[in-house]
Amino acid sequence: MASSEEQPESRPPVLLLRMVAPAYDDAVSAKFHVLRPWESPLPRDQFLAAHAGSVRALLISSLVTLDDATLDALPRLGCVVTTSSGVNHIDLAACARRGIAVANAGTVFSADAADYAVGLLIDVLRRVSTSDRYVRRGLWPVKGDYPLGFKLGGKRVGIVGLGSIGSETAKRLVAFGCTILYYSRKNKPSVPYKYFPNVCDLAAESDILIVSCALTSETHHIINKDVMTALGKEGIIVNVGRGPLVDEAELVRRLMQGELGGAGLDVFENEPAVPKELFLMDNVVLTPHRAIFTSESLADLGQLLVANLEAFFSNRPLLTPVNHNDL
């Protein structure tokens, strides 16, 4: 890997405020001069002041909250690239006021998240993880056949949030013979699925809910007690969005009392804490927030980050721009 000290510094600087995944740092370092404040003996504000005159591009993850105060310290900033699809950590209005273009991960991770949602759903219905444990414990010869699961075909799947991930998930489930219904902030007349203007009504007509919307102040606990009641005792919930989209305590209570059919959860309200009551259940599948983390997608994102930065520095439009009016 080329060390940045060995090359004359004609490459444009790109500032990090916190570490990003090594795969991304490596990809960007190959083409740009990456500034890492934590490697400097200077305190943070002095480091920023020292580089304020030259920094036009910033690379962040969703762990950095980008607000007016930080933007004030970077007067020449023209571009912010985030490694995430979500942008709630970025004050988009403040960026727009300052003429700062913002790029996100676009749809790089959507297929992986959709694959994972389908994988979790099949796992819950067909008891894949549970019966795998059963086999590994040597129980098949001792206790006989594992109890029956449930068919996926013919089920009505309500997608909560028909963005890129929701659409990719829907497309996959159609091939399994599912009927797709959806909730979204706005009706999308070009899609062939039935629209519901509220999640409760969606739940009432669904056998399964898949949560794939962005987390905002409006969508906190969008899957609440009323939605779970509407979904019914045999309903299944799959969450590949964010933990706080679901009222977790209510979900656990209903699962414990047999008032919900099952759940496939990749995200939780207080990660990495997972309610221990779930560990005893055979109708839940629990994964540690990994829906998008494949080596292929990380490599794809690395390339996308570089492509967005190259576009900015060549005065070309960003590949995956975020317009704050879209949200």
Binding site: A111, D112, A114, D115, Y116, V118, G119, L120, I122, D123, L125, R126, R127, V128, S129, S131, D132, R133, Y134, V135, R136, G138, W140, P141, G144, D145, Y146, L148, G149, F150, K151, L152, G153, K171, R172, V174, A175, F176, G177, E271, P272, A273, V274, F279, V285, L286, T287, P288, H289, R290, F293, T294, S295, E296, S297, L298
Partner: protein, 349 residues
């Protein structure tokens, strides 16, 4: 005496194979011809089927006798047993058929007929039925679910969470993307086609091996399983088990599939050379495997239990409430058709 009207009789076609089999209805009264039909059920896999058979026919339960006494049991009841209902666990081999001189029909509660001696049935002019179509979707769903579970390590990740490792050790590792990977299917019959249709929705290119190329598909054909394996990422076994396809996935095929390749078996255990599979996985010559079937069920090689790149499920391809009922109804419908001299719903012989 007129047979009692039931849904089986409503279809109106005279073809030997009914193209639109009407489902059997457990709500109808069985005709007298059914009540006097002696049926041997070989294995207690399906409690609904067992219950209906015992209500409607004269049911003999083979598993209530230990295997060493089967010959005696069969001899004692040979005069009464005119029908045999087999499963993927216990079917009707030559010895059993020989012991049942009054046997007229073998109705297998499965689509696979590897446990039925078809040559013997042909010789004795015994009718044979199976349960195609009703289970196709469930098996195909499981095949894709197993492939995703293996590539994305879902079962392993679930174990990671339940063991408290997420708290203690931090993030679970990166896994391998499923979408867009080339799928190789061995056997492009009903189940193979259903798997292909699902995989296409994940933008997976599809290729296949079959005894002969299929005329109406755009999928890429390979005339050798080794070539198929060398050119795909995920190899799925979906063909019938016959003498020719035993160990169709052998060491050469596994080596061709390679250290990043994944094998999915939703066919029959003997399709895969299991001993070779275990060493290929342990030695890293094969990237991963998802297995619903094994050579000696319910026994699974224990060397697989500690591997994180395998998914092991206990022959659950058709194990849903809905499908098991439909399979049972098809068995019952075939038996009723036979007993009342109507065309069989899903005959093979």
């Amino acid at each position: 005496m007129k047979p009692t009207k039931c849904r089986v009789e409503e279809r109106g076609t005279e073809d030997d194979r009914n193209p639109n089999p009407k489902p059997f209805s457990s709500l109808t009264t069985p005709p007298p011809a059914m009540e006097s039909l002696g049926v041997l059920l070989t294995f207690p896999a399906n409690s609904y089927l067992e219950e209906e058979l015992s209500k409607r026919c004269k049911l003999f339960r083979l598993w209530e006798t230990p295997p060493e006494n089967w010959r005696q049991f069969l001899r004692a009841n040979a005069g009464s047993i005119r029908a045999l209902v087999g499963t993927s666990t216990v079917g009707a081999d030559a010895e059993m058929i020989d012991a049942l001189p009054a046997l007229e029909i073998v109705a297998s509660c499965s689509v696979g007929l590897d446990k039925v001696d078809l040559a013997k049935c042909r010789e004795r002019r015994i009718r044979v039925t199976n349960t195609p179509d009703v289970l196709t979707d469930d098996v195909a769903d499981l095949a894709i679910g197993l492939a995703i579970a293996t590539m994305r390590r879902i079962c392993e990740a679930d174990r990671y969470v339940r063991s408290g490792a997420w708290n203690a050790k931090g993030d679970y590792k990166l896994t391998s993307k499923f979408s867009g990977k080339t799928i190789g299917i061995i056997g492009l019959g009903r189940i193979g086609l259903a798997i292909a249709k699902r995989a296409e929705a994940f933008d997976c290119p599809i290729s296949y091996y079959s005894r002969s190329e299929k005329p109406h598909t755009n999928y890429k054909y390979y005339s050798s399983v080794v070539d198929l394996a060398a050119n795909c990422h995920i190899l799925i076994v979906a063909c019938a088990l016959t003498e020719e396809t035993r160990h169709i996935v052998n060491r050469e095929v596994m080596d061709a599939l390679g250290p990043k390749g994944v094998l999915v078996n939703i066919g029959r255990g003997p399709h895969v050379d299991e001993a070779e599979l275990v060493s290929a996985l342990i030695e890293g010559r094969l990237g991963g495997a998802a297995l619903d079937v094994f050579e000696h069920e319910p026994h699974v090689p224990e060397q697989l239990f500690g591997l994180e790149n395998v998914v092991l499920v206990p022959h659950v391809g058709t194990a849903t409430w809905g499908t098991r009922k439909e399979m049972a109804d098809l068995v019952l419908g075939n038996l009723e058709a036979h007993a009342t001299n109507k065309p069989l719903l899903t005959p093979v012989l």
